[in-house]
């Protein structure tokens, strides 16, 4: 224990203190520690909405949706359920896998474009309901890239020695901001939450090379027009259906393919790992054809790509942690494995990260 990092003496949390960050023996400076993904969890609502069901709501067909997106069905919350409800279950699962109690968590961050409220944050609601001890908890928004943005933040916190145990979430109720009269978008989205427990010690997946970026000049490709300070909610915005998601599909597709490919390749390049050593791609599940193009860029075989878009549709920031949790629980991440994550989303934003499970370091 490092006595000089005595912040917790003022606000003791279950008697536990931060573990020692690595210290350079010569300069005394903190040296980056490694961060490991040690637990995952996810939650989806029970109600299934199939393509056949959608045929009753808008002018579309199962064949059209399947060939263009790969989606067969999605999960949809009821009026009583919100993003935090799904998030709580996902965190409980991740903590159980990590072997942590709620009071072991030092910080929780939630990537979402569909928080319970603009404020208070979904993270604060979830941490309170799970009995975490007044920890720092906040939401942030990076569209569908949010979860990887969160992993990069966790890597900073843990690597610097500032925090030990961070929970990163992607949690969404996209069907609450879906325009059910727009057949080009309403078929795409679903609800769900995924969580990951990140700590300074394995065994687990080491958070490796990463890449993240944004281009605000392309913000209008994917947007929720009203309800912010630019266009506050009014009778007119409600009448014009401006509190629902808009997307220019074809152009978004084009940028998505390139952003996903570049994010993967740059994350691998930073890590110094060649693409030939990638075992599994867990991509943001937006569209099967974007996933397929990314897999081809990495020269991966179909069985090296985790796909569950057929069951859940696009769940934005939640899609990667949901897919990662499924892959882990199905035994597809038995070490040694190099798993690459890639996403793009509203902003536009993009991000990629390599997770490295070494021999004997499986979950």
């Amino acid at each position: 224990m490092t006595e000089s990092l005595g912040v917790n003496d003022t606000f003791p949390r279950g008697g536990r203190r931060l573990s020692d960050p690595a210290v350079n023996a010569v300069t005394g400076e903190l040296v980056g520690r490694k961060a490991y993904l040690v637990g995952t969890g996810h939650c989806v609502p029970d109600r299934v909405l199939t393509n056949k069901d959608l045929e009753q709501i808008v002018d579309t067909s199962d064949e059209w949706i399947t060939t263009r997106t790969g989606i067969k069905e999605r999960r949809i919350t009821n009026d009583q359920t919100s993003t935090s409800d799904l998030a709580i279950v996902a965190v409980e699962e991740a903590l159980e896998m990590a072997g942590w109690g709620p009071k072991d968590v030092d910080c929780m961050i939630v990537a979402t474009v569909t928080p319970d409220y603009i404020f208070p944050s979904t993270a604060a609601i979830v941490s309170d309901k799970l009995g975490m001890n007044n920890i720092p908890a906040y939401d942030f928004e990076a569209g569908c890239s949010g979860f990887i943005y969160g992993l990069i933040q966790a890597k900073c916190f843990i690597g610097s020695g500032m925090l030990d145990r961070v929970v990163v979430l992607g949690a969404e109720c996209l069907t609450k901001i879906t325009n059910w009269e727009d057949r080009t978008t309403c078929v795409l989205f679903g609800d769900g939450a995924g969580a990951a427990a990140i700590g300074p010690e394995g065994p687990g997946g080491e958070l490796g090379g990463w890449h993240w970026g944004s281009d605000g000049s392309l913000g209008d490709l994917l947007e929720l027009p009203a309800g912010g300070s630019r266009k506050p909610a009014s009778k007119e915005t409600v009448k014009a259906n401006e509190h629902t998601l808009r997307m220019k599909g074809n152009e978004t597709f084009k940028y998505a393919v390139r952003a996903m490919r570049d994010s993967c390749l740059k994350a691998l390049d930073m890590d110094g790992t060649p693409k030939s050593e990638v075992d599994l791609l867990v991509p943001h599940q937006a569209n099967y054809r974007i996933i397929d193009a990314t897999a081809r860029a990495l020269e991966l075989r179909p069985e090296q790509v985790y796909v569950n878009i057929d069951k859940y549709g696009n769940t934005s920031a939640a899609s990667i942690p949901m897919a990662l949790d499924e892959a882990v629980r199905k035994g597809e991440v038995t070490p040694p494995k190099n798993v690459v994550l890639a996403a793009f989303g509203a902003g536009l934003t993009w991000a990629g990260m390599l997770l490295k499970w070494k021999e004997e370091e499986g979950l």
């Binding site: 263009r68 074809n250 152009e251 084009k254 393919v257 390139r258 569209n287 054809r289």
Partner: protein
């Protein structure tokens, strides 16, 4: 390789059609079986191969193989 041959090769690779089907009058959607996303991917391949940008507006005018060849020839002249 001529411009026509380069265009033809890209189309054959992307859409999985036979080279002899790629005639100037062939319509991507009605003759070559492309859907809207195939067209987006095809335009991306043209952009990458010829090092130019095709806007959505321009892309919407490119319905046949001949349209693309004409468009690229014109771009080449401008450059």
């Amino acid at each position: 390789m001529s411009l026509e041959n380069r265009v033809s090769e890209i189309i054959v690779n992307k859409l999985g059609v036979k080279p002899e089907e790629v005639k100037p009058e062939a319509d991507f959607q009605t003759d070559l079986g492309a859907d809207s996303l195939d067209l987006v991917e095809l335009m991306m391949d043209f952009e990458d191969s010829f090092g130019l940008k095709i806007t959505d507006e321009e892309a919407s005018e490119l319905r046949t193989v001949g349209d693309v060849i004409g468009f690229l020839e014109k771009k080449d002249l401008e450059a």
